[in-house]
Amino acid sequence: MTDETSIGVLICSWAGGKDGAFDLQALKDHAARSPLVTFVAIVDRICSSSGQSEAVELLKRHKVDRFVVAACSPGSKEPLYRRISSLAGLHPLGFESANLREQCAYVHDSPHAAEKAKVLIDMAIAKADLWVPPPYEDELPVTRRAAIIGDGLAAGIAAYELAMQGIDVDLIMRSEGFEWPADYLFENRVAQHRAEQTMMALAIHPRVNLVQAAEVVGFDGVPGSFGLMVERYGDILPIKCGAVVLAPHLEVKFKVLRGTQVGALLSSDLQDGKRVVILPGATGSGVGCNCVSARAVRFAQTVKERSRDSQVMLMGREMRALGSCESIYEEAQRQGIIFTRIEQVPVLEGESPCTLKVMDASLGELAVKADTVVMETSDAPQLPSLSRLFGVPMDQKGDFLTLETRLRSTETMQRGVFACRVRMGNMMAEDLMLEAKSAASFAAELLTKGTMEVGGAVAEVEPEKCSACLACVRICPYGAPVIGEAGKAQIVMQKCQGCGICVGLCPSKAIAMYGSSDAQLRAQASVALQGVR
């Protein structure tokens, strides 16, 4: 025991479950025998409001500087314990919990549960004794401004959503103007109209600052207050923001392999090239297999509608039309668009008109005559450079890798940086818009709150022990450790998410962790194993 520490122990009256798996009084007497403990009390239902005030009152009265709460799982009750700690004037993280319900009363039979409860409470006391107050900022101010990077619809929608929530937005585009939604293929035509209106409203929205013909060349700062360097006509423009949304433009193109240009294909007086074949992109479309996408169907429909006597054929292995896109597929069939299921990439012979040698799934080998052959391609050219600059890795198919494990699929490993994945669902404009809204929504959560929680269970380098071996820099999923000016590693607290991977790895044992220090983990195991050897 260090001289200054004084520990209070609060046992919830319901800690033993409703049936009371163990005698709380006996547990109290046991805890009170510990020389580390200043007081022990049984609190009537600590999660009730009267229980909370009683707990606060007890902690204040006994002037302890930390406490152990023996109750139900901290998994759901931790915020409550934090509040009790704060209200008692202690460090908000100045407690340890003993999970006496889920890890004891509910899972062990009575006599065993009573013994186990003592062990759990002793472990928590031992851990609390070694607790070191961590650096912690509950409400670190966040720059209430967002930077959206990208040219297309996704960037526009994300900017609009944030602006409408009263957040100032810098929309940083490479191009001189928008890529208008007309370039996109929508599932629903009303939706297209609305998107066009949104993009027009965006251009004159007072909260939106358009930075056109600009390229982001630098990214620094820490989560909460980022700095962007934007190059524009040879000048460098600094931009400050609290959140970044990466929304690169997804270019969808129908590349002409044979015959008429796409523009002519979409004009109403298509003279030649009336037999049109649309092929799925073998690569670059992002589709795992050679699927006919809903986008290609929409394109086929446009061709068919402009020139009714044309013969439009879509070739592919599967017809990929998720959810409500099914209706587009049906509509296209009604319009007389032909779908051919092919097993392999067709062989093109001759110029326009040409012959496609295909292997039809049911009919076997076929030769299809066509005047025009186009192939669907899609590409997000800005994505790789954004990935490098912002440290948001890419997956194998060239999309952003996000934190899917947390059901917040547009959050990235970089706190405060949100990314729209360009190839989701049907990959129609609507999917892109939903992705953009989701990213905007998470950015808005951070910026509306205006503050972020920093510190707590974070890692910290002891510089005199550090060998600057770079192990932590290389392993951290969040890019938190850097080699500082002194040539030693240091951990950017705003980026640290407290996983402790670097702590377990550091070959020089130079990284310590608040809340789960080596000494604390050791003490817990020692208490658990007391008397075993």
Partner: protein, 234 residues
């Protein structure tokens, strides 16, 4: 940096047989970086030894320490308290470190915990590759910055042998042919002409064949007068 790797645990136990008071000594420099002898490895080895001793009734008392650089006298001298009463030091530093401990504590047996392997660099986290042979007669200026002495299995100085296949060395498909790399490096530099410069038979005298190597930098060495003025340190 110097690359080393730990001896198998069984060998460590055999080395320590017959000793009682043991100090496991690590180094925060090269061997920490190559994950062989830093404070964490010292902890792992020391704890493993204690566990082994407890299980086998060896009654070893194992202490542990890690110094900044075991090859430097000043740092090693800091161990004076920690070595008191010890009958063995298990050095997890490179051979240089182990020797400097032995020279400063001549009464204690210093046992090598590592096999010192080579001079190299981390290729990625956890992978260390030999890069320099320490031949004492460097030709990197002629070979596009790639050492033919260690990176060519035969240490050839004037082009590849017949075993170079598709850029790989015949000893293993995982080993790139150094001369293939040299060619491409010079190509990138626009200095393929350097390949025409014949590297004469190498003078191996500065290498190991001339006995232990010693490099003296007169401008850095303290003169006898300076030494006298600083007073005797040892």
């Amino acid at each position: 940096m110097i690359i080393g790797e730990q001896k198998p645990f069984k060998e460590l136990c055999a080395l320590l047989d017959g000793h009682k008071e043991i100090l496991v000594a690590g180094c925060r420099s090269c061997v920490a970086i190559c994950l062989a002898g830093g404070e964490k490895e010292v902890g792992v080895v020391a704890e493993s030894l204690r566990l082994y001793s407890d299980l086998n009734g060896k009654e070893w008392r194992v202490d542990e320490v890690t110094v900044e650089r075991q090859c430097e006298k000043e740092f090693v001298l800091d161990l004076i308290e920690r070595t008191k009463g010890k009958d063995a030091v298990l050095s997890l530093a490179c051979g240089v470190g182990a020797q400097s401990v032995q020279s400063l504590y001549p009464g204690i047996r210093v046992l090598p915990g590592l096999n010192t392997s080579n001079m190299g660099a981390p290729e990625e986290q956890g992978v260390f590759v030999e890069k320099c042979g320490g031949c004492g007669d460097c030709v990197l200026h002629l070979t596009g910055g790639i050492c033919p002495i260690v990176r060519c299995a035969k240490s050839l100085l004037n082009g590849p042998c017949g075993g170079s296949q598709n850029g790989k060395c015949e000893i293993s498909p995982d080993v790139p042919c150094a001369w293939d790399q040299i060619y491409h490096s010079l190509e990138r530099l626009g200095r393929l002409d350097l390949l025409e410069e014949l590297i004469p038979p190498k003078n191996w005298l500065p290498s190991r064949s001339g006995g232990p190597r010693k490099i003296v930098r007169p401008e850095a060495v303290l003169t006898p007068v300076e030494k006298e003025l600083r007073g005797a340190k040892e």
